[in-house]
Structures are given as C-alpha cells and as structure tokens.
Symmetry: C2
Subunit: 278 residues, 2 copies
C-alpha cells in the first residue's frame, strides 16, 4: 500500500510526499512530533503536521538564516538561537571561527531529543563545546538579557501555537536590548506568495524597532509557495553584503555564497511592493 | 463536496489545489487541456495533468523567460517563441518598443483557442498587430529559418510528449542557425531540485552549441520544487545584466527588475555544481 505524508500548507493548498518508512511519532508538552522518510526529500521532521525540515533541502533555510547575519557582522562572537531545536542553525553557526559561544533556546526538549536520535545530519553540532542548549521559553529568556549577543537568530515555527509571541513588536524590542551595540538579528518571516499578511506585519514591527531593516529571500521547496522570506534587523551595520567576501566564500556550503548573499536582497517587484506598502 | 486539482509533480511528490470551479476540459490532437479556478492561485491551465500556468503566479515565469534575453540584447527587433500558446511570453515581449515582429510557433491550436477564451489576462497580446501565430511544429519551423531572429524563446512543456525534441542538441543547433549574428535564445530547463538530470542534459547540450551559456533562476510556486531554471545561449553578448538598466526598470512588471535580472545569475552552490559537473 502506498503511504503519503500530507502537509496542508494553506486551506487551499496541500503538498504530499510519498514515504518509504514511518520513523517516529510522539506528543510532547507543546506539539505533535513526527519523523518520516520521504522518497523525494529524504528524512523529514513535522511539528503539528507542518514540515519543519527535510534532509535533502534543509541546507537552504539553515544556511541562509545563519550566514547572512554572521557574515554581515564584522566579528560575531556570541550568538543566540531562539527555536531551532533540530540543530541545523547551530551546525551552520559553528562553521564560523569567530564564534565563541552559542546559546540555543528551545522551548520543547522533545524536539532536540528527537533530532539527536533521528536527524544526526542536522543536529550534529548540538554537543559542540561552544554550544549551550536551554529548554526554556525564548521570549522570557531574552527579556532578562541585555547587551549580550552579537547575533540573534529566530528559527521559529509559524506564528500559531508556541511561536505566536515571536512575531510581535514587544518581542523584537527584547531582541534589540539583548543585542550588543552593533548587533544583528534575523527572523524567518514566511512566504511572500501565500502568507503575505504575516510577512508584512512582521516586517513592519521589526522596522519600528531596528534602524536598519532588510528583507531577503531563498527558495525552500518543501515550504509553502517555495519562495521564503527572512527579515534582518540591525543596529548599525547594513546586512546586504558580507563584510569579507573571501571569508564568506571560504566555508563549505550547498546554497550560500557571497554572491548569493548579495543576490538574496534583490527583491522581485511584488515583494518590494509588499514591504513598501505595509 | 470539496474539489481539488492534483498535480503529480514527480512519482513521489504531489501538489493539490482546492478548486472553486471546473471551467473547461478537452482532448486536443496533442494533449488533454484543462482549465480550473483554484482558490490559492486563481485560474489554472493544465496540459496532460501538468500545471502550465496560473493567473496568480504566471508573471514570474513569463517575465523572467522574456525580459532577461530581451534586455540583454541591445536592439531586439524580431523575436520567435516556440510553444507558449497561452500567450504569456508574447504579452511580455510586446512591452519592448524595439520589437517589430513576434512569431509564435505553437503546435497545438487548441491551447491558443482555450487561452484566448478562458485566460484573457495571459493571452491578451496574441491579437497584437506585431504578432503572427503559426500552428506548426517549432522544430520543423526553425529548421527552415536562417539568420532571422534576434531572440528565440523556448516556452515548452516538460520533455515528454510533444516537447521531447526541444531538449536535444540538434534542436539547439537549429535555434543557433535561426538567430541573427548577435542573437540570444532562452529555454526553460526545469527544476534543479527535482529534475536535475533534465537540467544537466539541457545545459550541456546548449553549451555544446553556443559560445556563451548561462543558467539563471526564478521561483515559481506552482512548479515542482519551486525553484526553476532557465538556460540562455548567446552568440556574442553575455546575458547576465541588462544592456540598459534604466530601460529595464522602465517597464511595468511584478517580478523582473534590473537588479533581479543580475541576481538571478547568482547560483546557489549546489546549482553551480550541477552545471560544472555535467
């Protein structure tokens, strides 16, 4: 019998993946966690039925949410990740020699445990000695931190359930305070094709808090609409190019290059219009 | 009862669109033609069950396959389109004041008829006085033409059925001969995520024929994998930037800008690897 995993991307759009094997399912305190092996994209993690990452295309999202802010910063030493319990962002961060400490703040301990057991390609850096994993609410954590991190990355689920508070202005103000004087933050801000209102609202809120606000794009095949947005807020530096292109091209990646970094900020006209007319 | 249109994108991947209304279906000499109204992407044209275009996202594909070669050419006057019976490419071509004549070579008369009746937003320029529509095999047509067109655009279906012969070296050689001395051609060359072999094969064949060969990308939500590739072959001009950026930014578009044109050639590392190791 054929087995398929289905994601209801919007109420009018559904993406279905043929699966070879059902690997794991559990209900944590926060969400339903499922791992399956798909034939098109390899092993896949779903939270509450929403595709979070697959082994075959995870590199796009993890590289682009990480290397853009880290290479736009002249010397990132301390980095915080809010969410991101699968470990993909942490794996990319520790490719940067300048980084001395990474704090991962994941509300759901079960996501980290499942990723460590079933997604070793993605979670492999969570035990690195520079990495500290906290199982706590990122919103509460950042409220207590001042002038601490050079870069903060918000690797959240969609703004429903536990991640809802990660898309509002009060939270971005906490992020601002938690950053050092030339700090940079990035959040995933959803799809410009199918989640336009979330994108516009997040961008507008970030722009109210940060002097430099920039949207950039990458294409993640397993996310709704394919085209995915990230919004960077920065205190002083612009983020549209790496500080050191040679350094940016020196790390091993599958998607990111210095040229891709710069190109990601060349927005299609309809996306420009979305953020210029919030 | 809920109604859905389903596209089997690969044997392991299926995209489903909720539809509000079933508009038209017919079996032509060449293929099954279906038009439905989807709730997420508006009206949609399917050929043999494969999504060709939707009213809400067609602008990405049609603008990027058209304006890149036309703005990379210093003075495109005569343009041929092979395939493209929906008229979307022609609509973009006639935005260029330099263009004096457009020949659309569509093998299936029924596609043009259906597009004119049910997709007026896309087919609206097919009756323009500069446009000639030929219902004939593009492969045979180009064999008989020498040194005629400044730009040739291959707007084909996937390389199965009638479009198979549009992805082989002999055809690209005919395209070369049909172009003027500084001519440029572009073909859609499928998805770097889910149709890598087709992309590699097409790129390799084009590079055997054209002195300048370049791959570029755009994101089309309703195409498999989201990320879509186009390959340009050129006799003399490079195509990685518009000749006149101010002119390129002067036309009305939803996706294309001069900056997007240049950014589309910044390839993710894994795509670079695909075409460097054919």
């Amino acid at each position: 019998m054929e087995k398929w995993a289905s994601e209801v991307q919007t109420k009018n759009l559904e993406l279905r993946f043929r699966i070879s094997e059902f690997i794991h399912a559990e209900k944590s305190e926060f969400q339903e966690i499922v791992v399956v092996d798909t034939l098109e994209f390899g092993r896949m993690l779903l939270l509450d039925g929403i595709v979070q990452t697959t082994v075959n295309d995870e590199f796009v999202y993890h590289e682009m949410i990480t290397h853009v802010p880290l290479f736009a910063h002249p010397n990132p030493r301390k980095v915080a990740v809010i969410g991101g319990g699968d470990g993909g962002v942490v794996r990319e961060i520790i490719k940067h020699d300048s980084v001395e400490r990474v704090v991962l703040c994941e509300i759901d301990e079960a996501v980290v445990r499942v990723a460590k057991e079933y997604l070793p390609e993605i979670s492999c850096a969570l035990d690195d000695e520079r990495v500290e994993v906290l199982f706590t609410d990122g919103i509460e954590y950042l409220k207590k931190v001042q002038n601490e991190f050079d870069v903060i990355i918000i690797d959240s689920t969609d703004p429903i359930g536990p991640a809802k508070g990660l898309f509002v202005k009060d939270f971005y103000a906490s992020v601002y305070s938690a950053l050092t004087g030339n700090g940079i933050f990035v959040a995933q801000t959803e799809s410009p094709f199918v989640f336009r209102d979330i994108l516009k609202s997040a961008y507008r809120s970030i722009a109210q808090v940060f002097p430099v606000t920039r949207l950039y794009l990458a294409t993640v095949p397993t996310y709704p609409g394919g085209l995915w947005s990230f919004t960077a807020g920065s205190k002083t530096h612009d983020v549209i190019a790496p500080v050191n292109e040679k350094l940016a091209d020196s790390i091993t990646t599958k998607y990111y290059t210095a040229a891709v970094h710069k190109a990601a900020f060349a927005l299609p006209k309809f996306v420009e219009d979305l953020i210029e007319n919030p």
